[in-house]
Subunit: 393 residues, 2 copies
């Protein structure tokens, strides 16, 4: 199948309308915490608050979203004001005295948990950069660049963060080059930074060289430092939705670089390999984890359907279709789009449920918790809307 | 319903036959690692090896099982020899230089991961104590007592182990008093230790005072230091199968103390409360997590059915029935027994699958991994067999 230009126009309308009349209004303005700053995002299906704690990742992501909507969709004062609440909360309460960020804080900003990763920091960078662009705040721009520098340091200095494992069996994950690439892309597109292009090149090379395995048509989630497969349970575990998120970061980069054919090819290979491994041929939807050799996966929720891989696959398939014209990608896009809006979308209250059983039934009703908030779904709807606008022109 | 004495005799035969001709032969002797010591336990449904790594908890638990079978069922040289392999591997490779134990090691005993808990140590205590009884090895008895002392120190000295959370919102879990009570019970029943009775009393008091909430008919999984409910996602999360394991530890203690009516009442209350909250009235089986106020549970696998809660509930209901004669417990026992052997048991290869979807379908086929091995199922079959022998007499 191919999408006609009418199909594309109606897709654009659909994403735009979902984003602006369904997804964003579920969260805002009701989640603005005008008392303590930041956002109250842990909400049940109907929007009622489950918990008033704040997940630092998601405070950053929501700040990014509101700033990005302001920067690219409409200069609504409510969005800028909301972004300011988030940005100030992050600065005021989410940094430890050693400069690292917390993971989980109370409503009034007292720390509950700090983790051995720097993802809070990467989300801070995209939040501060987008907020700097929206507000013109030079200090926010400096903060974004400074913390980006810290992230590079964390990503490239082994042992700087407390390790979870001994060094008996060293491993590296695809998560770090992926998130760093996307962080650099965001930084470049908002306030600019001279370091971005070079680092993006390096991270793409790392992904291509060490994680993409053409011989077995697979993108690994973790590998040994030399890129070899670690034939133990953890080393064999694949995360198809995550790898496909990496695929669209690379396709996005290809687009920025005048449709660089090498990068288009790389992104499409990653998408092809992991669609084949991740798409559930029995029930539809993207399976959460797979084993590279089809052995049992240890993580208990391995065959559940989570909202966010579907957001990533919707973006990746649409981008691949628009960039290559390959009809296979239109078919895949339609499959994952239809599955997702039929199964995840909450027709009654708006937004998406987060967690389905393998058979597509709803496992639990939360719209927001420590790990889910206003990010993957609105980012998908926003990205696809913008992308379609561009291609329709 | 009531069980007739014929029912009880046939149940005893069933558990005995399952244990000795189905469950234990799935694991042994093929899992003995005669090259490096210890056991190779990470196996798929058909017994093929998924991973040759070793989970320290399960090395200890398997050592306990083999020693216990030798001590209580039959003095088979194979069982004693297997227990020795496990005990020596634990001593040789599973302790860090600071005296704490690892969580996960390679086949040849190199450490992969150490965790911020002391459960490896508690399983070492029951392994060394049972092995000491089986072998007559005095050093093993001394090791069991020495490490038990370390466990008491960890359990009673806040801050001795690296905490996962800040002290903003202090909490304590039911896991520590539960496992310490059971460790002390095992130690007392194998090699004896003068500290056990007093500590068991203290841990039961902690459970009763701080975790059992009669006003809302609930056993909490974690509470604030003063026993109050922490009204946030983690604090509200209940683990019914775990609480019911605690119930049977207390009923077991009641039995040792000439059917102490206060302890029988406490154990039965815990069982009653958590059966009501945990038994899935739609599909049968024990739900993994619940929220005390029925809000959404964050852990993704919250409504899956895991093997081990079913083992605990089979023991608890049988023990409650035999100790009280209350027919309700025979009904519950029959329900959970029938559900479990119908859904978890692998008719083809023996042993049980570990992980079912809520609707009872099999989610993945591993019989052993980092968290599952020869423990909960054979312990249940062994405990019920011994218990029924005692009551039939």
């Amino acid at each position: 199948m191919a999408y006609t230009s009418e199909d594309l126009r109606s897709l654009k309308e659909f994403y735009s309308s979902q984003l602006l009349t369904n997804t964003v209004p579920f969260w805002f303005p009701r989640s603005f915490d005008t008392e303590y700053g930041g956002f109250l995002l842990m909400r049940d299906a109907d929007g009622s608050l489950i918990d008033d704690d704040k997940a630092v990742w998601i405070q950053g992501r929501a700040t990014w979203l509101l700033s990005t909507l302001y920067n690219t969709v409409e200069q609504k004062p409510e969005w800028l004001e909301g972004a300011r609440l988030g940005y100030e909360f992050l600065n005021k309460y989410c940094f430890d005295t050693d400069g690292q960020m917390f993971f989980h804080v109370t409503r009034d900003g007292r720390p509950i948990r700090k983790r051995r990763y720097f993802f809070s920091e990467t989300f801070y960078v995209i939040a501060a950069a987008a907020y700097a662009k929206a507000s013109g705040d030079e200090e926010a721009a400096n903060n974004a660049r400074r913390v980006f520098g810290k992230c590079i340091e964390f990503a490239t200095t082994p042992g700087l963060l407390t390790p979870k494992y001994t060094d008996t069996r060293p491993a590296k994950g695809i998560g770090v080059p992926m998130i760093m690439m996307n962080t650099a892309q965001q930084l470049r597109e908002t306030i600019g930074d001279p370091r971005c292009d070079e680092w993006i090149d390096k991270w793409i090379t790392t992904i291509e060289t060490d994680f993409v395995k053409d011989d077995i048509k697979c993108v690994m989630e973790q590998v040994a430092p030399d890129g070899s497969i670690i034939d133990h349970i953890d080393g064999r575990t694949l995360n198809p939705g995550h790898a496909i998120e990496g695929a669209w970061f690379i396709l996005h980069e290809a687009k920025k670089r005048n449709n660089d054919p090498r990068l288009i090819n790389l992104g499409c290979r990653m998408l092809d390999y992991m669609w084949e491994r991740g798409w559930d041929k029995e029930y539809g939807g993207i399976l959460y984890f797979r084993d590279v050799y089809d052995k049992p996966v240890q993580e208990y929720w391995q065959d559940m359907k989570f909202w966010w891989p579907h957001n990533e696959v919707i973006i990746a398939t649409l981008l691949a279709y628009l960039m290559t014209g390959d009809q296979k990608y239109a078919e895949w896009h339609k499959q994952v789009h239809d599955y997702s809006y039929q199964h995840f979308h909450d027709n009654k209250n708006g937004e998406w449920f987060g967690y389905l059983h393998r058979d597509g039934s709803i496992a639990q009703t939360a719209k927001g918790n420590l790990f889910k908030g206003p990010f993957h779904l609105p980012r998908q709807e926003w990205y696809c809307m913008q992308l379609l606008k561009e291609y329709i022109k």
